[in-house]
């Protein structure tokens, strides 16, 4: 990336507050900034901690640094109290998230992920809302083996967590295969461009001593302090907004003409995370600021990320995402600064249209003549459960080499690029392993448009259940849907165990974020294709109240909806909830 830093560049055109950003000395900034600065480019003392025999944890600082390598320390919260009484340390395990630009995964890579999940990840792995895979339940002492296994098939954990640009998303639209390939190519280029370059990764995980000690040129773009917070980048292929472009820090909407990629509309400033009872935090949808040509992509990445790197808040981490930088400095200033760095003004945005942020399930024939099967996977969990043997079935398909895997932003998977003659073989293998998609009783359109984060027992942030509870709650909601004749009606529902928003709850038509065991905030009224935030209608309530509110609103929707009207639009029109026009009004 470009080595340009604002501190060296010409002064910006407008005078802005610089008291909380990179220009300030470390002692004025959050402790994380000092940690990063003194970490020898993310090496820390991770290697020492990995062989500590007295604990299976790592220390607090190394845990923070390991996030940049794709790893979070967690512990089994179901066992926390029990083990405390037993005078044993918590049951520490690690989550490792891979970098998988655009969610495209070869059969060889799938088989390796499957193998590592079976060996070290409690016989399973998980597909994430950012189109990648993650392992849970990893023993600290197995981390190196897993990292080496990933490297062997060209995968890594770089930039899966931490204050860097995260794994880059790309819409999966199976019907527009030719365009998808072109966009995916750009997503790969973007991902390889924005990941951090430190040799600490190879040193810690593979024991490869760097040729020269890490010095000032180790991270030409990031420098020693990396980004103020995470930075999310995604590419959407209209008319599908499956990646939820408005939730990305930096989004690119593919603009094509007759199947050929022309360029991108640039969207900046989306983000989901917020904190309960902290009104200064809020989810925000991105703003479309203009259009770039395909060959302007890399300079645009540098310019946009550079602005956030240099102006982002490094004092208060809950206020450090790009969305706050934009609202603090004002969109015109930010856009002007981006254009100043680019050296040209952005062209006006092109027209585009989204119709959904969900997945089109089942078989689709692509415009390249190949077949693509989109498979719904509840909460993204690849595991054998009863008759539905997803882990084994997908392994069999990978072993047969019948497809490329494309992970969707809704935690599902597309068995893509299947030759037409192989379609029956895929069908047979799916059937053999009890895997199907049929929207039948117990699998409403609502369930097929559901997402949940992991939450309990592994996530340290969770205050309530999500993945383990949402399927049961949906079963109860399905009773209401049946009563009101809405079983076939696609409605988006998302649940998270905390307000941070990993499953992008604030752009779901129905959303639940955890407050305490069994207690959730209930939100309604988001746009069906992610174009509008929802709003809280009940705070800190249990299942009975949730079902009561949903029964009332779904009943009214069934009775009074207009032709083609979405549930999220209806509840606003019918006055159940006020419309949220901008993120900063979310808490009003």
């Amino acid at each position: 990336m470009s080595t340009t830093k604002t501190t060296q560049a010409a002064a910006p055109a407008v005078e802005v507050d610089r008291s909380r950003d990179l220009s300030q000395p470390l002692e004025k900034l959050a402790p994380e900034e000092s940690l990063k600065f003194h970490s020898d480019y993310l090496a820390g003392t991770i290697a020492t901690d990995l062989v500590d025999e007295i604990t299976r944890a790592v220390d607090e600082n190394n845990n923070k640094l390991m996030k940049f390598h794709g790893i979070y320390q967690q512990d089994d919260r179901d066992l926390r109290d029990e083990r405390r009484q037993q005078k044993l340390e918590p049951y520490f395990t690690f989550m490792l998230r891979g970098r998988l630009p655009g969610g495209v995964c070869t059969p060889e890579q799938w088989l390796k992920i499957d193998e590592l999940g079976r060996l070290h990840g409690n016989d399973q792995f998980r597909l994430t809302t950012r189109q990648t895979f993650q392992f849970h339940y990893l023993d600290r002492n197995a981390l190196r083996e897993v990292m080496i296994g990933l490297r062997d098939v060209g995968l890594d954990g770089k930039a899966a967590c931490g204050d860097v640009a995260r794994t880059v998303m790309s819409g999966v639209h199976p019907g527009l295969s030719k365009l998808h390939k072109q966009v995916y190519e750009q997503a790969r280029i973007a991902s390889d461009h924005v990941i951090h370059k430190t040799s600490a990764y190879e040193e810690v995980w593979f024991g490869e001593k760097p040729a020269t000690p890490r010095g000032d040129d180790e991270e030409p773009f990031y420098g020693k302090q990396y980004m103020p917070r995470k930075f999310k980048i995604g590419f959407a292929v209209p008319p599908s907004n499956d990646i939820d472009i408005y939730s990305q820090d930096l989004g690119f909407v593919a603009i094509a003409s007759r199947g050929k990629l022309k360029g991108f509309n640039v969207v900046i400033g989306g983000g989901m995370g917020r904190t309960d009872r902290a009104p200064e935090t809020y989810p925000r949808l991105g703003d479309v600021i203009g259009f770039i040509e395909v060959d302007q992509l890399v300079p645009t990445l540098d310019a946009v990320m550079g602005v956030q790197r240099d102006y982002g808040d490094r004092v208060t981490r809950s206020h450090a995402r790009f969305k706050y930088t934009i609202d603090d400095k004002g969109l015109p200033f930010i856009k002007g600064e981006i254009e100043r760095r680019l050296g040209f003004a952005l062209a006006p945005a092109k027209r585009f249209r989204f119709d959904s942020n969900g997945d089109q399930l089942g078989w689709t024939t692509g415009d390249d003549g190949l077949e693509h099967f989109t498979l719904f996977i509840e909460s993204g969990r690849i595991i054998d459960r009863g008759e539905r043997r997803l882990l084994t079935g997908l392994r069999a398909i990978a072993q047969a080499g019948l497809c490329v895997f494309r992970l969707t932003p809704n935690q599902s998977v597309i068995l893509s690029d299947v030759a037409p003659e192989d379609r029956p073989k895929v069908d047979a293998l799916l059937a053999e392993h009890g895997i199907d998609n049929v929207p039948t009783k117990g699998r409403s359109a609502l369930r097929l448009n559901s997402m949940a984060c992991v939450a309990m027992p592994t996530c340290g942030l969770a205050m309530a259940e999500a993945e383990r509870y949402l399927p049961d709650l949906i079963t109860k909601i399905e009773g209401l849907l049946e009563t009101h004749g809405l079983t076939e009606e696609p409605i988006t529902i998302r649940m998270t165990g905390c307000p941070n928003g990993c499953a992008r709850p604030y752009i779901a038509e129905i959303a639940l974020t955890g407050r305490a065991p069994g207690k959730y905030n209930l939100y309604l009224g988001a746009g069906f294709h992610g174009q509008r935030l929802n709003k809280m209608v009940r705070e800190n309530v249990g299942e009975d109240v949730i079902l009561e509110v949903l029964d009332e609103t779904l009943g009214a929707y069934a009775k009074d909806r207009q032709d083609g009207e979405r549930f999220g639009d209806f509840v606003i029109r019918a006055g159940f909830v006020a419309e949220v026009t901008e993120g900063r009004f979310f808490n009003d």
Binding site: E53, I54, T55, R56, L79, E82, R83, R84, Q85, Q86, K87, L88, E89, Y91
Partner: protein
């Protein structure tokens, strides 16, 4: 016929009340033997011994003895030491001054000059002497042992008849002393775990033979039935009963948690008991005697198989009790003993049992290992059995000893235990250890008491505060080290502390993990090397960690460190011993014999200490 209750004059009462608060535990034991001896001789002493307690008697109350008496004991649990004290006191009371010596400290060069030698020898594990007495046994068995033509001796052997090599250490000594030319003063008596009555009778007999000009015959009869009052009966300063083995303290259960995490192949418990108001104190390294109760299901199964009524009254030492209660509280009903085989062979007339009774000890031992009391009574029914016939074959229920895992400095008025629950299957039936099963069954029930007493363990003590220590322990063997570290932390002891801990799995079996982590963080624990045998291949045991750290082990030893080994006696302790010899040879640049001698010297200097079981 009734015996009048003896009363003390008010002057005697005054004297007793002045004396009682000033005596410590050892002195009380000594006094009990002393008065017992007086009773046996029927004479009053000229003067009370001054203040040396059991260690040495300075007064010669009656006619001066022609010969000198040494009472030598080898002990693991402290029982032999108590008996030795009683022997000395009884002899002193009869005008025979006695020296009491622990084999662990005894200067073997004195042996050839001994005159009368009374030996109280405990047997440990598979027929071995107590670890602290090994040096003495080796000397006596070796070529350097002197001829002892002028020595008279008597041996009392303590043991446990459920072991194959019952009282083996005492038997060895008895035979070897004879071989060395000494003359036997009285026949050896082998005592089972309920040794008290047999020991008392034997003491009376031996003491009678020691007294000059006293005809040996009939001396034993002079000892009144019931023998010497136990220390347990002695009044303490506040008038309450002092707690000991015979009068354990009902300690309220404070906590009882399973330390081993889910998925463990073991169940190890942490038990906290309150000693508040008991007057009981202990030192780190001491053990707690726990009086268990038998499994009620086992009691019912036994009653059922034998067609006996649990409500029938039977005599016990505590008076008449229902049979169910007697079987629960008073008798060993899990593992059988040779006594039980003998009794059951007679009752059932079964050929198999008669053959075992008359056969060799090994076969009997193997059979008892495979067949508990319940299995034997099922296999060989005795129609029309009465309760007394059953009880005649059973041993009294014995307390079990556990190393105390706490320090009074850190947990005042408490004693913590680390207890591994013994569970296994035999003939398709689940079985549990008697005491560990009892502690597991009671769980953390409230308002529950566990009868306990303190058993001193003089051979397993902390050194001076500035001395470094290496603590090697596997499984529950880590218990005394928790006490050591609590004590050293409370004292602010400067000496370095190194723990080498072994168990099966890191995740579930790292006993007291968070406490060690904190002690490391606070600098109390200098170093901790854990070994987990089932986490990875090759299996790693404590001796492997010692070997890996051999250079440091050697450096610590050369710096004057003490090394402790606690836990399994069968495999771990010998493996650790062999590894230490290797380390001394390799890092100390010594030959095999010199390395061995180095370790022997450590043992002699009490710098290499074992508490293994």
């Amino acid at each position: 016929m009734s015996t009048p209750i003896p009363t003390l004059t008010s002057e005697q009462q005054d004297q007793l009340q002045r004396l009682a608060p000033t005596v410590d535990r050892d002195q009380a034991i000594w006094l009990s033997g002393y008065f017992a001896g007086l009773a046996g001789a029927g004479t009053a002493p000229a003067a009370l011994p001054a203040d040396d307690g059991a260690a040495a008697a300075t007064a010669a109350p009656a006619a001066p003895a022609a010969r000198r008496l040494t009472v030598l004991y080898g002990t693991d649990t402290g029982n032999s030491r108590e008996v030795a004290g009683q022997v000395a006191a009884a002899a002193t009371a009869q005008g025979v001054p006695a020296e009491v010596a622990d084999m662990a400290d005894y200067k073997t060069r004195l042996l050839k000059d001994e005159q009368d030698l009374v030996v109280i020898a405990a047997t440990h594990g598979e027929g071995d002497p107590p670890p602290s007495a090994i040096g003495f046994f080796e000397f006596l068995a070796g070529r350097k042992a002197p001829k002892l033509p002028d020595v008279r001796f008597a041996v009392l052997a303590l043991g446990d008849s459920t072991y194959e090599h019952y009282c083996s250490a005492g038997k060895q000594l008895d035979a070897r002393l004879e071989e060395l030319g000494a003359s036997r003063l009285a026949d050896r008596v082998d005592c089972d775990v309920d040794y008290e009555d047999d020991a008392e009778a034997w003491i009376a007999d031996v003491v009678a033979r020691l007294v000059p000009d006293e005809p040996p015959a009939g001396a034993a009869a002079a000892v009144p039935a019931g023998g010497a009052p136990s220390v347990d009966g002695a009044a303490s300063s506040n008038g309450a009963v002092a707690h000991g083995k015979k009068h354990p303290f009902a300690a309220p259960l404070l906590e009882n948690v399973v330390l081993t995490g889910r998925g463990s192949s073991k169940e190890t418990r942490h038990v906290e008991l309150s000693l508040e108001g008991s007057g009981l104190t202990y030192e780190p390294g001491d053990a707690l005697g726990v009086v268990p109760q038998n499994d009620p299901q086992l009691v019912e199964a036994l009653l059922d198989r034998l067609a006996l009524s649990g409500d029938a009254t039977v005599p016990t030492k505590q008076g008449d009790r229902p049979l169910r209660e007697a079987l629960t509280h008073a008798y060993e009903i899990t593992a059988g003993t040779p006594r039980f085989i003998e009794q059951w062979a007679t009752l059932s007339g079964a050929g198999e049992l008669e053959a075992l009774r008359d056969g060799d000890a090994k076969a009997r031992f193997d059979y008892l290992h495979e067949h508990h009391v319940l299995d034997i009574v099922e296999r060989f029914p005795v129609p029309g059995l009465d309760a007394a016939q059953l009880l005649a074959g059973l041993r009294p229920l014995q307390p079990r000893l556990y190393s105390i895992a706490s320090s009074l400095a850190a947990a005042p008025d408490e004693a913590h235990l680390t207890v591994s629950t013994v569970r296994f299957e035999l003939h398709g039936r689940p079985r549990t250890g008697v005491a560990s099963g009892h502690l597991a069954r009671i769980g953390d029930a409230e308002d529950l008491d566990v009868p306990v007493y303190v058993q001193a363990n003089e051979h397993f003590r902390l050194p001076a505060d500035d001395v470094p220590i290496i603590m090697v322990g596997a499984g529950t063997g880590v218990a005394p080290y928790r006490a050591f570290l609590q004590e050293r932390e409370a004292r602010g002891a400067e000496g370095r502390n190194w723990l080498v801990f072994g168990e099966r799995n890191f995740r579930s079996d790292f006993l007291y993990q968070v406490e060690w982590q904190q002690l490391l963080k606070d600098g109390v624990l200098t170093r901790l090397d854990p070994a987990f045998s089932r986490d990875a291949t090759p299996k790693t045991y404590v001796q492997d960690r010692l070997r890996q750290a051999g250079r440091d082990v050697w450096a610590w030893l050369e710096d004057g460190a003490r090394i402790y080994v606690c836990g399994d006696a069968t495999n771990m302790a010998p493996d650790v011993d062999a590894t230490l010899a290797e380390i001394v040879a390799e890092h100390g640049g010594k030959g095999e014999d010199d390395a061995r001698e180095y370790l022997s010297a450590l043992k002699r200097e009490h710098r290499y200490l074992l508490d293994v079981y």
